[in-house]
């Protein structure tokens, strides 16, 4: 499937900062399940965008700008072709053995309640894959999507206590549970093609867990599905912090507000008209 994405992030400041620096993880890479057709990244300030690769092989862009800055706006736009791999992620950049993804992080450390939940949910299943699917279903069932309930620093344990959250929280909980039952797991940030055409207020997040003999398998606990063709994978890490689309800091100024517009649509109309003209 061809998916077209436009993602605009604007930081506005009530009091303009002197300088700002940002790290962007906004550029997808190829793997067997996706091919990046074209992709561009634009920052509306004069700056040198330095491209590198982070610890996990994600494409990282960094820049620093001098103020006074009333706002910084970053737009990424491009097209990606996806293929249904039944959730299995192969051919991706792997910098570490799976065991690294057994590390707990402050955002994903399982509480006693999470450990119990993970154990009870998976006790009747045999085999890692079916245990992970049981977790996927159970987390999707027991959590309510609520954008007002959590924030970007909410931990898996806090989210589990309230049983509410957004895709980031669903994913952290899944990761905590998976690691809790001995399966290496990691956080994925990316884009999701929904059934409607409406603008989204954020990118999407899901998780991958490592299954012996299969490799990394994707799970989307927010939608309760294994990603097929509707997910575009951008960055992976131990948790949200490592894969966050934008991490920034500024000196001076304040009163920061954030505005995000994400548009994910099938590029079908485009490709159809092309095929008709041939």
């Amino acid at each position: 499937m061809r998916i077209r994405i436009r993602h605009e992030t604007t930081y506005r400041y009530a009091e303009p900062p002197r300088t700002a620096v940002q790290h962007l993880r906004l550029t997808p890479r190829n793997h067997d399940g996706q091919h990046v057709v074209d992709w561009r990244i634009d920052v509306d300030r004069d700056c040198r965008l330095v491209q590198s690769e982070d610890a996990f092989g994600n494409t990282l862009h960094r820049f620093s700008v001098d103020g006074p800055l009333e706002s910084i706006s970053t737009v990424v736009e491009g097209e990606v072709t996806t293929f249904d791999m039944a959730g299995v992620v192969s051919g991706a950049v792997e910098r570490f053995p799976p065991v690294l993804f057994m590390r707990d992080t402050p955002l994903t450390t399982p509480s006693a309640a999470i450990c119990d939940f993970a154990r009870e949910t998976t006790s009747k299943e045999s085999g890692t894959l079916s245990k992970l699917h049981a977790l996927l279903g159970a987390i999707h069932e027991s959590l309510t999507f609520d954008a007002a309930a959590t924030h970007s620093a909410t931990t898996a344990a806090e989210c589990f206590e309230h049983r509410k959250g957004v895709c980031q929280d669903f994913s952290h909980l899944f990761i905590a549970c998976a690691r809790g039952i001995g399966a290496p797991a990691r956080y994925v940030s990316g884009y999701f093609l929904g059934s409607d055409d409406e603008d989204q207020v954020a990118g999407h997040a899901w998780a991958e867990a490592y299954v012996e003999d299969l490799g990394w398998v994707a799970f989307d606990p927010t939608h309760g599905v294994a990603p097929q063709e509707n997910h575009v994978r951008v960055a992976v890490a131990l948790d949200y912090l490592g894969a966050a689309p934008i991490r920034g800091a500024h000196s001076g100024g304040g009163g920061e507000t954030l505005d995000v517009k994400v548009r994910v649509a099938r590029a079908a109309a485009f490709s159809q008209s092309q095929s008709q003209s041939q």
């Binding site: 300088t19 620096v21 790290h23 040198r48 330095v50 590198s52 982070d54 610890a55 996990f56 960094r62 620093s64 910098r95 570490f96 053995p97 065991v99 690294l100 057994m102 590390r103 707990d104 620093a153 131990l238 912090l241 991490r247 920034g248 800091a249 000196s251």
Partner: protein, 486 residues
């Protein structure tokens, strides 16, 4: 100290005959009236108060600033003893460094199955951001503090490696200064190896690892988390001795992968940062986003090779107490040599059999948390209450991989001068090993830490331990003895 075990006193020896390095001190003590010792103790206290050497204690009810107890009697090592120790320390730190270069590089020791991969990759101190990166001159551990104990006059044991930001060197230097003022007559009696050159050696080490663009004239700074850090005194003391700027994160900024320091004359480029701040707080864009102590973009500059951090980010992956147990194998693997300094025999509680043994012998063992430091989260079996033992039993059962256990060592003792007279107390030693592009070295001596309470084995300053000056003296007596026999 377990009374069942015979203890080794560094002055009296095993047989009660004064050991050679202590002969002159012992004689001097015998001839010195107790009133003189008492007055020198008071003078020492006054001097330290005037210097203002204090440290903060974490977890204390009120944020207290304390004077570390200082004992006026020197701890003495013979040059020949020191030579063995020095060789062993350099060997150990060389191996620690090779290990770090390997786990952040090719990972050969993991593939060879010498160290379990999960122990490295799941170690919170292992920093994924450092994987596949080179650091200048492949040096990760520029400054190491290796904690050494002895149980007899044969060899030395390593109790712990500190490869992150070991502290205490300011006490080593201050203790010597105070001692030279208090006891000129004792210094006249002995040929004590100097340690005053430590700041020069440290600066030389830091300058040697500067990025090439500094053209041999690098700007070095010392970065502190600030005045609320327990070791702030040391940070300002060292910056002063080194003649470099003491900076906090807010004094630095990064522009296009270059680190600058704000000065009254405008931004000045920084080449080497001796950072006394933990990895987690270095850069809010890479590590803890809530860190107000770090510098946004610092890791980018570091990875671009525009600034050198000492010690390297992620160096803590080598000094973990679980990794400690593999040190003899690590030394053999990289250097092809047998370790010169012994490890204390250690049970890895992650291993089933070891755990079972430890749980059965909690009242005899010292149990340590793998990632704990400074004597926090530690059980000293022979001195623990039943409740403390049970508490640790529960912790061990829940997370065995977080603990190691060691037999209670009969740590050596040294005499200390108290109001009631001279009495032996347990000691350890933290020498400071420097490693730069210009080689590795150790100033002769280190910080001797002493448990001020009778029979106590915990020497950490956070737990009421004190310090002593440490002397490495020429083995002149051997010549004298030889002459006497002739």
């Amino acid at each position: 100290m377990d009374s069942r075990i015979t203890q080794f006193d560094e002055l009296a020896g095993a047989d009660g005959r004064t050991r050679a390095p202590y002969r002159k001190l012992s004689q001097w003590l015998a001839e010195t009236p107790p009133e003189l010792l008492a007055s020198r103790r008071e003078q020492a206290e006054l001097l330290f108060r005037r210097i203002g050497i204090t440290f903060a204690v974490y977890g204390a009810q009120e944020a207290t600033e304390r004077l570390i107890p200082f004992d006026i009697l020197p701890r003495i090592l013979a040059r020949s003893e020191w030579a063995t120790l020095e060789k062993g320390l350099i060997q150990r730190v060389t191996a620690l460094n090779a290990f770090l270069a390997d786990i952040y590089g090719a990972g050969e020791i993991l593939r060879a199955g010498i160290v379990p991969a999960d122990l490295v990759y799941r170690n919170p101190a292992y920093c994924p951001d450092m994987a596949g990166r080179r650091v200048p001159f492949d040096i990760y551990v520029h400054i190491a503090g290796v904690d050494i104990v002895r149980t007899d006059d044969q060899g030395f044991f390593v109790l712990e490696d500190n490869a992150r930001t070991p502290s205490g060197v300011s006490y080593m230097l201050e203790n010597r200064e105070v001692m030279m003022r208090l006891f000129p007559e004792l210094f006249a009696l002995h040929r004590v190896a100097p340690i005053e050159n430590y700041p020069d050696e440290l600066l030389g080490t830091l300058r040697s690892v500067a990025p090439p663009r500094a053209n041999g004239d690098p700007t070095v700074v010392l970065m502190t988390p600030g005045q609320y850090n327990s070791a702030f005194y040391e940070h300002s003391f060292l910056a002063d001795k080194l003649g470099v700027e003491l900076v906090e994160g807010r004094d630095l900024f990064v522009r296009d992968d270059v680190v600058y320091m704000r000065t009254t004359e405008g931004p000045r480029r920084v080449d080497v940062i001796y950072r006394r701040i933990d990895d987690d707080f270095l850069d809010p864009l890479c590590f803890r986003p809530d860190s107000a102590l770090g510098v946004a973009g610092l890791m980018g500059a570091y990875q671009a090779g525009n600034v050198t951090l000492a010690n390297a980010v992620g160096a803590g992956a080598a000094d973990d107490k679980a990794m400690y147990t593999y040190m003899p194998d690590i030394i053999k693997f990289y250097l092809g040599e047998a370790p010169l300094l012994q490890n204390v025999p250690t049970f890895r509680c992650r291993e089933q059999e070891a755990l079972a043994y430890v749980l059965d012998h909690l009242d005899e063992l010292v149990v340590k948390e793998v990632n704990g430091s400074g004597g926090y989260g530690m059980l000293v079996g022979p001195h623990a209450t039943r409740a403390q033992i049970e508490e640790f039993r529960a912790k061990l059962k829940a997370h065995p991989q977080n603990f190691i256990a060691q037999p209670t060592l009969a740590l050596s003792t040294c005499p200390i001068a108290m109001a009631s007279g001279v009495a032996p107390r347990h000691v350890d030693l933290r020498p400071f090993v420097l490693q730069g592009a210009n080689g590795a070295r150790v100033v002769p001596g280190g910080l001797t830490r002493v448990a001020m309470t009778e029979k106590s084995l915990v020497v950490n300053s956070s737990q009421g331990g004190g310090t002593k000056d440490t002397w490495v003296i020429d083995d002149a007596w051997s010549a004298e003895e030889a002459m006497g026999q002739a």
